[in-house]
């Protein structure tokens, strides 16, 4: 069965979605991530969706769910690399992914997670500073 690899980088997990997500695959990914988080005790999770051209309402919800579940397991999730067209579509659909932290690319996402660990910048609050 088709699976999306989950890579470990230090105490972060990196998921790069490079195939078009169908609903089944999204659910499998969600399960896998949760397993991996509890197994590795990762502090951060980065979901890179820069290769995704279509994010529908279901995938949007799954992304939100993953972030919520990860938070319960004490892991910070950053969704990175969303394309402009995808962002516009999601906003027009009314899915602005509340509660999901976003960054432009993987590097920025890693920075965000590192900064939270050092306690210099709050990842929890949107209205930091």
């Amino acid at each position: 069965m088709e699976r999306i690899p989950i890579l470990r980088m230090g105490d972060c997990l990196l998921v790069t979605i490079q195939v078009d997500m169908h609903d089944r695959l999204a659910i499998t990914l969600q399960d896998d991530i949760m397993e991996k988080i509890s197994e590795s005790r990762a502090k951060g999770l980065i979901v890179d969706i820069s290769a995704l051209e279509i994010v529908d309402s279901f995938i949007g919800r799954v992304l939100g769910d993953i972030a919520g579940m990860a938070r319960i397991l004490d892991t910070r999730t950053v969704v990175v690399g969303m394309r402009p067209a995808v962002a516009i579509t999601l906003v027009e659909l009314g899915l602005s992914l509340p509660g999901v932290i976003t960054a432009l690319n993987v590097e920025r996402g890693l920075d965000l997670i590192r900064n939270t660990k050092n306690g210099t910048s709050g990842l929890d609050g949107r209205s930091e500073g």
Binding site: P84, A87, I88, V91, S96, T102, L104, R108, G109, R126
Partner: protein, 308 residues
Amino acid sequence: MPTTTSSRIPEIVRHHEEQLLSEWVQRQLAALTARRDLIQDDELREQSRRFLIHLRDGLQRGGLAQEVGGAAWAEMRDLLSAYSLSRARMGFSPSETATFVFSFKQPLYDRLRDEVGDDPSALQNELWAATVLLDRLGLHTVELYQRNREEVIRRQQDELSELSTPVVQLWDGILALPVIGTLDSSRTQTVMENLLEKIVQTGATHAILDITGVPTVDTLVAQHLLKTVAAARLMGAECIISGIRPQIAQTIVHLGVDLGDVTTKSTLADAFAVALHKSGMAVTRNGHRALPAISSGPSSSTPTSSSS
């Protein structure tokens, strides 16, 4: 139609072509609507000559009764569309453009009177046929003129909307988007796309939406602004809205619009300071008063303005 098939207009146009042309051109040049400042006499003469040639060909091929939209008048239509396009660009008014065709009536009527003047009922038929034909050609010209002008206006609108939403980079990672004019759905789309593209290009983490140039904010505009903020957030950039005028602030509160947790600042400068602060940068004033570096001497160890 029996009156038109037996019409003598095609014959008259063929036989008196030179005379018609010279009379017509004279009339056009003498008319009050002549724009000798915009068009050369030679060019006018050339256009009139070509009009007459196409009129002759059209009459031979299609006769009078046929609609001007038909195949017989295709060349004439091309000529008129080129004519009205150039007139629209040169700044002719609609009536000045239409006069080109309508002023041909008088020379043609004169010839008709000379040829069939002794038979009143035939003359009337001929005049009517000529009027219908020239009216249609004239209206066709005006219609094209109108369409060309609308095209020009539409293009200018596009350019204006493109120009009025520039995205500027204020600092490494900080973008500013000064919005000027009213935000409607189509413009919001342009604004959003421009901003998001620029965020990708520059890797910006902060974007300042400056609405000093927005005259009014209603619920729709506020909604559009919030959409832009949400889209930028999805790309990983935080938005700050600046330049909200006192009246607009009142309107927003009265309308019950919830700007959520969007940071707002009164001026672009304030917003810029916030963005710098959040990116971990600071602009410091030079220790000395603003003396030129050269006059302060080579050995000076003045602290320079720095960003850390």
